[in-house]
Amino acid sequence: MKIGVFVCHCGTNIEGTVDTAAVAAASREFPGVVFATDTMYACSEPGQDGIIEAIKEHKLDGVVVASCTPRMHEPTFRRTLERAGLNRYLFEMANIREHVSWIGKDREANTNKSADLVRMAAAKLLKNRPLFSKQFPVNKSVMVVGGGVAGIQAALDCANGGLKVVLVEKDTTIGGKMAKLDKTFPTVDCSSCVLGPLMVDVAQHPNINLHAYSEIEEVNGYVGNFEIKVKKKASYVDWDACTGCGLCVEKCPSRKATDFFNEKLATTKAINIPFPQAIPKKAKIDPDFCMKIQKDKCGVCAKVCPSEAIDFTQKDEFITENVGAVVAATGFDLFDWTVYGQYGGGKYPDVITSLQYERMLSASGPSEGHIKRPSDGKEPKNVVFIQCVGSRDKSVGRPYCSGFCCMYTAKQTILTKDHIPDSQSHVFYMDIRSPGKLYDEFTRRAMEEYGANYIRGRVSMIYPKGDNLVVRGADTLMGAQVEIDADLVVLAVGAEASVGATDLAKKLRISYDAYGFFMEGHPKLKPVETNTAGVYLAGACQGPKDIPASVAQGSAAASKVLGLFSQDMLASDPQVSVVDIKRCIGCGKCIQTCPFGAIKEIDFRGMKKADVIETICQGCGICTSTCPQGAVQLQHFTDNQILAEVNAICRF
């Protein structure tokens, strides 16, 4: 093999602490290397053209680029090789930026280490073989998991682009948190007026198949051809028959069921439709509160239902959907604030969450838009808002900023004034973060036009005094302690990953961060992709996000899916394992260890052998390190290739 080495300056990023010309000079001595040079920006157009010219001029059949991380530009340079007529796998990268020039300033050591990394790359390259992708057909339909505003947007964009969409929502209705909000910042327009029409579009779109009250059970397959098992949870109502008339709800005598939609501010009937605009508008029985299911009494709903939809014996049902891509849009949940003993830890009924307050403000909420405090139903005059409850607080393991609480708190003070003109809002805050378009103007309006009293500081405790609460905190700008009499306290509770997010991530084989938020492919360049081909992200499941950002991501994810599906065939990754049938002794160890069931037993002239199913193999190489014979080898990461790197640095 004739190897060419290109050592990149990356402007001054590398050249600043690495003598790239010296690295190139050293590289010329390495086995196989016939050409080496330094280059200003290897990834730029002139940089790539330089590589192509050198390949032609020096008849190179292998290339090493020493530059940034392969996670950044490996695909770029592989394409460069292809343009020069070389196989894309006759290429290696030496990461001399993230792993060298950026982590220390010792020019001598860095130059020396960079040369070593090139030596390793060249040694591995000598063992590389051309690999070829296979083409396989794509199933041009997509599953969107989660029907909040982000998932709705993604589903509608994909459906409008002509794709078949399967939307899976774990609740009985789509809409997510936005459906619970009264009005939205920074325009203070009504949430359901914005969201409602989109939800109706989902229901009516010929390309969208909605599975509400359903969850992902199992995911198999790979980009282009996923096979996903969906659990349709038992609602005890035949939804094909149910018309959503609500007669059953009206007549049901069991009134104490937990009202999740209203954030437990009220109770609801055992058979319930969460809100009038629900999509789908179907009834569901909560078995814990149904007298028929619990005690075999009652059965009123079955008697009154005009469509005979009630089915007390209904069971969970499993269906399989085949799709080519998945968009995860499972949103967020609220931090459990009761860990804060200083806020009463849940003891005081008049300390509520921001989302409960939204339900209170909402005309379709349990108090029909009247602000009534839970303890005695009185209208509060003094409302205290506490921000950053479970945000930016290391002591409860939530060091991050939830992003939207500053804004919705300002909104809630404005709405409080609108609802109760003689009220006064007080806001305890740490910093006001309102960097969006028209956002800072909005928080200023809350203070200046609506007279909200903003106090910079943390609350140290809340304690009861008579019927009211006293909120004691620091005013760090005045350097004083303040105590405020409150009729109602609203906690701006932080966002955390939605319940079950990590389980779903494991099924989809995507990564998540320390808090359970899904990890994007690259923080800047791949904000809606994941590291699993064919799986995309939208909305707050990736990190706290307000509605505009969630919608933007929903559309971005949809455009990625549409882009993927603009091809009829996809190319498989040839970095898969292959079995050397002569070496294989048919012990079956690889079959047992492969996490993907990608290896099957075959009969070869009467002998048991292993065989890798190329389209299922994910290229982890677990089988390779399991096989006692070295018979199954992960291509591009074979034993010989890895040991060549070892020997290049240890034995020279």
Binding site: R71, A514, G621, I622, N647
Partner: protein, 154 residues
């Protein structure tokens, strides 16, 4: 060009592509200063690491070997790091029998977002190896013997 005599020791890292290699990148992006001894070999998954690689690396003259993968339950390939943990734990127990100081080998978990943790891991491990000093060379027949023993054991 060998390691910088007197300054560096020979330390080899095996990092999984999805978590730890990304973590090392994140450390770089964050400009978290690290010692220069370590040379990284990228593998798709910590489950790809055959314990024999580590033995061979140590026999070939490395003074220390560091393995890092995704946190348990966080593997890109769902369970690769469990296999890794089992195998590497075994290896750690066998090294002294082979006459290799077990402190010359560590395995750990670093996620793609943990740049700072990566910096700490590398710095600590490098210090540990410098405390031990250069590894005594096991060569010739002795090395062959050790390798055979290991191959049988692992």
């Amino acid at each position: 060009m060998p390691i910088l005599e007197g300054k560096e020791l020979r330390i080899v890292g095996f990092l999984c592509n999805w978590c730890s290699y990304g973590g090392a990148d994140t450390a770089g992006v964050g400009r978290f200063k690290q010692p220069t001894d370590l040379r990284v070999i990228k593998v798709p998954c910590s489950g790809r690491i055959d314990p024999l690689f580590i033995v061979k690396t140590l026999l070939a003259g490395a003074d220390g070997v560091l393995v890092s993968g995704c946190h348990p339950r966080d593997c890109h390939y769902t369970e690769g790091n469990f296999y890794a943990r089992r195998r590497l734990e075994m290896l750690k127990r066998f090294l002294p029998i082979m006459g290799i100081d077990a402190k010359r080998f560590e395995y750990t978990w670093v996620s793609a977002s943990e740049g700072q943790r990566w910096q700490e891991v590398v710095t600590k491990f490098t210090e540990q190896i410098h405390e031990l000093g250069a590894a005594p060379k096991i060569v010739g027949a002795e090395a062959e013997e050790t390798l055979k023993l290991m191959e049988a054991a692992l």
